[in-house]
Symmetry: C2
Subunit: 296 residues, 2 copies
């Protein structure tokens, strides 16, 4: 709640999220090989953006972080991790490197990678269904998570994404694809936190503006890094969008245009955050503001 650094916040809370993921998966998984495949991807690091957004939003709205929040954050990261494993498969994006390590199917084979993804997705719902909150809240979270991850959310976005290969999209189509592919789960992180914080509708609406702009900014940054980023640092192959002939923010707007659009969405998000701060009388620069500044 104080003017803490992102690094401090991360090291105070993310290890607990990681621990929940590992403990829960170990508890519910009866095949050693399956557990190893899931744990490989879950333990491969990653920026944990979605758990951070979820936890930082709760913190921003004055909620003391507890076990149930780490559990929801863990489920969210499990859904994200499943999507990476499946997206990396040869039949999809065919990536060999992820988070600086060989992709799941490169290590465990395609069959096991499909099962590991299926397992992470299913157990994410299992985890939320058994979290220590009222049934009403659990149902709310499950409904929102399934919706964000589902066929009008992340899966629809991934469908549009692979169908967009070798096809020229305009900016509106591109945005619609990403709003679902990456935006929906990011928005879940922010909105679910608002619900658990029992935020007023006006606050949730403003936070939604933050979440939507964060999602777009995140994708623009991802596109820029795919052109100018360092493979070693990113832990994944760059230039893959161009080789798959995908429309991206940089292919449509150029690097400079994309950068300008990125700034615009960061500004929108920050402005919306400041409106919330005025309403809840917080003065410190928030973790959420620091989080989005990192996309510059």
């Amino acid at each position: 709640m104080s003017n803490q650094s992102l690094a401090d916040f991360s090291s105070a809370h993310l290890p607990k999220v990681n621990q929940v993921m590992r403990d829960f998966l170990q508890k519910v998984t009866t095949e050693q090989s399956l557990w190893e495949a899931m744990d490989y991807s879950v333990s491969a690091g990653g920026k944990r953006i979605r758990p951070l957004l979820f936890l930082a939003t709760l913190d921003f709205l004055g909620v003391e972080l507890k076990k149930e929040h780490y559990e929801v954050a863990a489920a969210l990261e499990m859904v994200h991790t499943y999507s990476l494993i499946h997206d990396d498969l040869p039949a999809m994006d065919n990536d060999d490197l992820r988070r600086g390590k060989p992709t799941n199917h490169k290590v465990f084979g395609e069959g096991m990678a499909i099962l590991a993804g299926d397992g992470l997705l299913t157990e994410a719902f299992h985890l939320v269904a058994s979290v220590d909150l009222t049934s009403d809240l659990r149902v709310m979270l499950l409904e929102k998570l399934a919706s964000a991850a589902g066929t009008n959310g992340m899966i629809a976005g991934q469908t549009a994404d692979i169908e967009g290969e070798n096809r020229q999209l305009d900016l509106k189509q591109l945005q619609k694809t990403h709003q679902r592919k990456t935006g929906a789960l990011i928005l879940f992180a922010v909105q679910a936190a608002c619900k658990l914080a029992q935020a007023e509708q006006e606050i949730e609406d403003l936070m939604t503006v933050y979440g939507e702009n964060y999602g777009i900014a995140f994708q623009i940054k991802d596109d820029i890094l795919d052109v100018v980023g360092d493979e070693q640092e990113l832990g994944k192959k760059t230039g893959s969008d161009e080789s798959l002939n995908k429309s991206t923010y940089t292919s449509l707007l150029g690097i400079e245009g994309a950068q300008k659009k990125l700034e615009h969405h960061i500004d929108q998000a920050v402005s919306s955050l400041h409106d919330v701060q005025d309403k809840i009388s917080k003065k410190d620069v928030s973790l959420l503001e620091k989080l989005i500044w990192k996309l510059r």
Copy 2:
């Protein structure tokens, strides 16, 4: 509730389950191609054993079937259908024929088949989360469904199954694999119905014996048909267990031994059903008894 035939029961209720699946998927899916891939497998027929078990158990326990029951039955069949799509993939069982039609990836490609499976799984949870029952009941159903479909259930069984290729399993290992691969979802059908019917624990325990024996009998029958069945009639390739060098009930016990074991589990299931009938004072031969007789 009367002494109705299975055919009458099926034609009275299964079309409603099919309708829920199609309507829900159409409502929540924003990409036409994704919807077509999911609908292809959902509409490809199949015996609808799991929805039938669920609905017939509710009927057996005196519950009048309503919209919410068709919705749960639909979700259950969606989870089953996703598992078929993924299991048929080249990286798994590599099957070309399913329910008398080319498998999903043969028609839509591997990438889309993976996404269609992911979509059906996710939207099954979405459907249960939004079903018209109390939050407590929805959470109970979601927890049980995720557990049955998860990494100590169906996915663990499928893992053990593909790892069992080219390896000799004993009867106990084989049974453990199938208890999870097919048994868990079948047991969900029966147990979830008991919960919704508010059956006493004693009744649920007896119904669990029925469900467990049904699951084993179902798998033995499947193994026998893979050896002696007619491809045209089954709508899938036979002899695939042998070609994948899988341990099966027939490879371990011979056809005659497997048939004897099948009879044993049918008898156990029926005996347990009769115990329930004594307790709830029902005299007619139940649909559940007719359902399991069909496995002879």
